[in-house]
């Protein structure tokens, strides 16, 4: 028999997973071994009519995720001799790898992360089965290095751990100021605890799919793969960009034009923004000539540093959040949908 999977991307989390758990968190298992033990090869999935249902399921799982929906579990399917949901996840990964469509892999990872999140949350709140609650705490600890403590109905995690995850969110409710914080701990509901690691869960699944090797085309999979390639085209995004500067940049230029002192952070914002937009050091330098402490040599030196001409790093324009925290943000409605000043005026067509 051909070795079932050459997928080397499944790391074993040091927890004991039963069939129930593998269905919920298929990305955690040593899947190759799991399936090998059941005695199936990939080729069989392409040729055996009885297994076609699983490939159809896997395809559906991808389609569902591409539409931003979560694949619904059918518990009865997992009680059969073949745990269909585990298979459909693994075959879906193979189909995605064969299609090579990154946009679909991204959507699939996110949907799978959200699916797992639901189970994690339920398990966290499981008062009847302590082992389930413990398992979910263990998953959080081992996969995301988040130590969660349970105090009555609330969960707490260290502020430093919380921040490492929460900085990936742009919604204000995740800011530390909008959390109950005492004695170095952040208090969270089970839902929030799990939601906190969604992006990492997503990234975890995405990285693993991406770093796994792509098998040779399997006979019987061609039609599915072609359909996926077609589907991916739908998600191609084209954008146009206006020439107007965002208000933070306009403000920085105005301050300099008036000969007033623009703080270092404002100068950094202006310079990196214009450099990132493709302007040259020579084009940008004159903007600073009205500054009270203007020194042409220093300005050119610093611009060269920022542009990466002198140093090794080309500096990126700071995010809107950073600009906001530096009191340099003067938002207009068009700023609502962007997270970096460079995105201002960019529209999808």
């Amino acid at each position: 028999m051909i070795a079932i999977f050459k997928l080397s991307w499944y790391t074993i989390v040091m927890v004991n997973l039963g069939n129930d758990e593998i269905v919920k968190y298929p990305f955690l298992t040593e899947a190759g071994k799991y399936l090998n033990d059941l005695g199936f090869s990939l080729e069989q999935f392409g040729s055996d009519p009885d297994l076609k249902k699983i490939v159809d399921n896997a395809f559906e799982r991808i389609i569902t995720s591409s539409e931003g929906r979560i694949f619904k579990s059918d518990p009865s399917s997992n009680n059969s001799a073949l745990p269909l949901e585990i298979f459909s996840f693994l075959i879906a990964v193979i189909l995605l790898k064969l299609s090579g469509m990154n946009t679909l892999i991204r959507r699939f990872s996110l949907a799978e992360a959200r699916r797992a999140e639901k189970f994690l949350e339920k398990d966290l709140m499981n008062h009847k089965d302590i082992t389930k609650a413990k398992l979910s705490l263990q998953i959080l600890q081992e996969l995301f290095s988040v130590t969660v403590e349970k105090i009555d109905e609330e969960f707490t995690i260290l502020v430093s751990d919380y921040l490492k995850h929460s900085i990936n969110f742009h919604e204000r409710e995740w800011k530390l100021i909008n959390r109950k914080v005492t004695n170095g701990k952040v208090h969270l509901t089970p839902h929030e605890t799990v939601r906190l690691v969604r992006k990492e869960l997503d990234r975890h699944i995405y990285t693993k799919i991406n770093s796994s090797s792509t098998p040779e085309m399997i006979i019987g999979f061609e039609t599915y793969v072609d359909k996926l390639k077609q589907l991916a085209k739908k998600f191609e995004v084209k954008t146009v960009e206006s020439k107007e500067f965002p208000p933070c940049i306009k403000h920085a230029i105005e301050v300099l034009e008036k000969g007033e002192n623009l703080p270092h952070s404002g100068r950094f914002l202006l310079a990196t923004f214009l450099l990132n937009k493709g302007q040259t050091v020579e084009q940008i330098a004159p903007l600073f000539k009205n500054a009270p402490d203007y020194n042409p040599k220093v300005t050119i030196y610093q611009l060269n540093q920022l542009s990466g001409i002198s140093g090794t790093t080309e500096y990126k324009s700071p995010s809107c959040e950073k600009v906001k925290s530096q009191n340099l943000c003067f938002p207009v409605p068009a700023c609502d949908t962007i997270i970096n000043p460079l995105q201002f005026g960019r529209k999808r067509v």
Partner: protein
């Protein structure tokens, strides 16, 4: 600064260092730190590695620096360029400076320097000589400024301990050498967090980005009982105390807040930043590659020393951080306002040659209002 002033200050600083090696130490894990120094009229020399107090003292004697710095970060290779240093962790540092606390310059303690004609004069909106508005502001000794800065440090410490769980013993306060304090947090779990996480901590401490829901005000169906209570922990409790003043006011004022509506409360939360947020400099806390003035070294903006503060309440920087001796010195002083050091008042000096103790001469020269004769 002219050559004569530079020589005078270099020699004075060197003498101070020679006599106070006991104040100047490399921090923990010195071989993982980046050091740097500046010379008068010179650029920054950084990416230096010093492994012991001896090497530090040698640098001070050989290079006669105007300012000496050391990273709060630990690196695997501190003397390589930034991108190759391999950042490991960094102590959490907060900077509370009088300039960030005040809405306007203190009238009796500030002088203006015109960027066009170099005229130095008392505080005003334009240069009295050429009417230019391109001005730089210099604050001289200001007791009120130090008092309010100290109050802010105490408020910060309470949040660090109560909210962020930092052990009080690990919080060390230093006078910055000019008009502020640097608060170092040692041995905390925050050492490993990066710049973006530190920005979040800054926002928390500064009370920035709060939404009404956090304080119990929802868009729909809010009632008084969900608004902050006096005994709440964290910002809810602090906001309650600010809003109500006393417990007995809660009912009346919370009703007023509810009647004002969601949008008004949201606006008020932003305004409260100024009144209850701690005024740290967020850039300092967020920058994990910064080099900070080394404790024990002189701040060339003032001639005062950055020094560990044992008892904040009793600490008077204009006495306790002023280490230069009192040998009488002749200087040409152009200092239109009075200042006070070591319990003695000086000035105003109107473009005149005066004899003052060396510590006052150094202070004025560092502030750019006197030169050697």
């Amino acid at each position: 600064m002219n050559g004569k002033d530079v020589t005078f200050l270099e020699d004075t600083f060197k003498k101070f260092y020679f006599e106070h090696f006991d104040l100047l130490h490399v921090p923990d894990d010195p071989n993982q730190r980046e050091f740097g120094y500046q010379k008068f009229n010179g650029g920054m020399n950084r990416h230096l590695s010093l492994k012991s107090d001896k090497e530090l003292h040698l640098l001070l004697m050989q290079n006669k620096p105007s300012d000496v710095y050391c990273s709060n970060a630990r690196y695997m290779f501190p003397n390589l360029p930034m991108s190759e240093k391999d950042w490991q962790n960094a102590e959490l540092i907060f900077d509370i400076d009088a300039k960030d606390l005040r809405k306007e310059h203190p009238k009796n303690n500030t002088l203006i320097k015109c960027s066009e004609c170099n005229e130095i004069s008392e505080l005003g909106e334009s240069c009295p000589k050429c009417n230019s508005t391109k001005l730089s502001f210099t604050t001289l000794t200001c007791d009120d400024c130090i008092k309010s800065t100290k109050d802010e440090v105490l408020k910060l410490n309470k949040i660090l301990i109560d909210d962020l769980g930092i052990n009080e013993e690990n919080i060390k306060i230093f006078f910055s050498g000019n008009e502020g304090f640097h608060i170092y947090v040692h041995k905390s779990e925050y050492e490993s967090v990066g710049s973006r996480e530190r920005a979040e901590l800054s926002d928390y401490i500064m009370f920035r980005g709060g939404i009404p829901e956090t304080f119990g005000f929802k868009k729909f169906n809010t009632n008084k009982s969900s608004l902050p209570k006096f005994d709440d922990v964290g910002w809810n409790g602090r906001l309650a105390k600010h809003l109500y003043g006393t417990k007995s006011n809660r009912s009346k004022i919370s009703q007023e807040i509810l009647s004002g509506g969601y949008a008004l409360f949201q606006k008020k939360l932003e305004d409260f930043r100024d009144s209850i947020g701690i005024k740290i400099d967020p850039n300092v806390t967020q920058d994990i590659h910064r080099i900070f003035r080394l404790p024990g070294s002189i701040n060339s903006k003032s001639g005062l020393t950055k020094i560990f503060v044992e008892d904040l309440k009793k600490f008077d920087p204009y006495i306790d951080a002023c280490f230069i001796d009192d040998e009488e010195i002749e200087v040409a002083a152009n200092c239109p306002i009075e200042f006070s050091l070591k319990k003695k008042k000086f000035g105003p000096f109107n473009n005149e040659q005066v004899s003052v103790p060396k510590f006052a001469a150094v202070y004025m020269m560092c502030k750019g209002v006197a030169s050697s004769v």
